[in-house]
């Protein structure tokens, strides 16, 4: 148990420290990199608690895909920090409100844990013992039977969002030369190359 505790504190401190660095660093690219570090540390905590599927999913989806897009966008944008500082007071009330709501919710969650231990116990689904069934099997059995409707609904929402993004950004312009892969591939040697004898001193 001792070693697990040590690892937990390493990952937990890593998460908090890198989350802190995200809002402290001046360079936005460095901030995104610290965000990635925070994700990886959080994955470590998941792993320690036996949720290895969730841990690796966090890495594959958030670190491997979402954060890459973040990084692309932040690298391309030319962020001017002096300009950002000017609007700081203007955004303070809104940001403060969001912060307060998150804090209140966190306190409620933690409070329920301390004041009513029974309530938390009831919310948890009975899961089979880790020795009998692997993490992924347990998740799959639940996700594709009991929660299949919600699962498909989530997929549908993502599909609609994707189609929406495509519709918003796709402008099919006329009078643009396009590639037609079919005709490119179907071209034969005869139609592309022609052998000619050229006499010296004369052009074609």
């Amino acid at each position: 148990m001792g070693l697990t505790a040590i690892f937990f504190y390493v990952f937990a401190m890593g998460t908090v420290a890198s989350a802190f660095m995200v809002i402290v660093t001046r360079n936005p690219v460095h901030a995104v990199m610290f965000l990635i570090l925070a994700f990886v540390n959080a994955a470590g905590i998941f792993m320690l608690n036996g949720a290895e599927f969730l841990a690796l999913l966090l890495i594959v989806v958030y670190v491997g895909a979402v954060a890459v897009l973040f990084l692309f966008v932040v690298m391309m944008l030319d962020v001017d920090f002096a300009e950002l500082r000017e609007g700081f007071l203007q955004y303070l009330p809104m940001g403060g409100l969001v912060g307060l709501i998150v804090l209140a919710e966190l306190l409620m969650v933690l409070g329920a844990w301390t004041f009513a231990p029974g309530a938390v116990g009831e919310a948890v689904q009975p899961i089979p013992d880790l020795n009998q069934i692997s993490n992924i099997e347990a998740l799959g059995n639940l996700l594709y039977t009991r929660y299949i409707f919600f699962f498909q609904l989530a997929g549908l929402i993502l599909l609609v969002a994707m189609i929406g993004a495509i519709v918003l950004t796709l402008h099919h312009r006329e009078n643009v030369k396009r590639q037609d892969i079919g005709t490119q591939v179907a071209r034969s040697r005869e139609s592309a190359v022609e052998m000619r004898k050229v006499k010296s001193g004369e052009g074609l």
Binding site: I59, V60, V63, V68, L71
Partner: protein, 350 residues
């Protein structure tokens, strides 16, 4: 907690694991040194050159000479670069490449960490490898390096998608994410269903044939190998995201690249070519240790990699993207559906 208990539970298993990891890493690095040599020799042979033949007999020590040369050169760091990120990027690249090997079984029970989600672990680690590229390209503070990094990263992300679907079809046939189980499930298959002895016909390459080809091509694209080496494009561009790198950091990038190439060869071997299983159920072939078959198959896949490098002309960037998104993605998505359907109807699903 007594001292005795502490040593038994933590110190001894820890030391064993460190020993295993060291053994694997040393073997892997020596293997990579000779893989680089083989790559150059095969390429040279196709072009009717001699290839490296000066250092040591037949040039066998060429890779080590190159390594010494890189180490003794002075590393040059661009003046206005982000220094920490600049030096961290090649380290990220090589560390992730090596970390994935922790779950690769090279023979029966010869694996550092036999975890239940080995396939997912390798997929996660290889999806992180894109950071070595992006960080290096950005930290160099050079437009060539940055554009090279963007191209490289877009390429790696695109082919990861179809690769994921290919892996899912294999996992559907196996019913487990453990790499040892993936190999073990290839002991019976099409061959044994036809009443033959266990042989190479049982492996997944035959049952999932188009997927095998897609995985092989995606592996080429994922590791930036020719004909998909657009970011580097030796004959027409500067060297992509690593333009500004020299000496040891550059060597780390090259090492990371070749380690992940060997990893992809090993993954092809495990997923489709039966891992360490012998090609035919015969007393003599069974007597040869599994590690021999594993290395042999990995070398064979790598031989195909280097032949492709020597023979196939480079793709255009739009052709590369079209192949990934408009050809491989629909085919592999359809194959996931078809495989699941067949397994469900026939009742072969494990």
């Amino acid at each position: 907690m007594t001292m005795h208990f502490f040593i038994d539970t933590y110190v001894i298993p820890g030391l064993i694991m460190v020993g295993q990891s060291l053994l694997l890493l040393v073997a892997l690095l020596i293997f990579v040194a000779y893989i680089i040599y083989a790559d150059r020799k095969i390429w040279a042979a196709v072009q009717m050159r001699r290839g490296p033949n000066v250092v040591g007999p037949w040039g066998l020590l060429q890779s080590f000479a190159d390594m010494l040369k890189f180490i003794f050169k002075e590393p040059v760091i661009p003046a206005v670069s982000s220094k920490v990120v600049f030096l961290l990027a090649p380290l990220v690249s090589v560390t992730l490449g090596l970390a994935a090997w922790a779950v690769v079984p090279v023979a029966d029970n010869w694996v550092v960490a036999n975890i239940n989600i080995g396939v997912l672990f390798i997929f996660a680690v290889s999806s992180l490898e894109v950071y070595g590229v992006i960080m290096g390209g950005w930290a160099s503070n050079s437009k060539y390096a940055f554009l090279g990094a963007l191209r490289s990263a877009a390429q790696m992300v695109s082919y990861e998608v179809s690769m994921g679907f290919v892996i899912i079809t294999v996992l559907l046939c196996v019913g487990s994410l453990n790499l040892t189980d993936v190999v073990m499930s290839q002991q019976d298959g099409i061959g044994t269903m036809l009443g033959l002895a266990p042989s190479f016909l049982d492996w997944h390459w035959l049952a999932l044939f188009p997927m095998f080809i897609i995985f092989f091509i995606s592996a080429l694209a994922e590791t930036n190998r020719p004909p998909f080496d657009l970011p580097e494009a030796e004959s027409e561009l500067v060297a992509g995201f690593m333009v500004e790198y020299g000496s040891s950091p550059y060597m780390l990038y090259m090492l990371g690249e070749y380690v992940s190439i060997v990893l992809m060869c090993a993954m092809t071997t495990i997923l489709f070519l039966g891992g360490w299983l012998p090609p035919y159920d015969h007393a003599i072939l069974n007597w040869i240790p599994g590690i021999f078959w594993f290395v042999l198959k990995t070398c064979m896949v790598f031989f195909m990699f280097s032949l492709v490098k020597a023979f196939v002309p480079r793709y255009r960037y739009d052709q590369l993207m079209r192949l990934g998104w408009k050809v491989f993605l629909p085919i592999s998505l359809f194959m996931v559906f078809a495989t699941a359907l067949v397994l469900q109807i026939t009742g072969w699903a494990p």
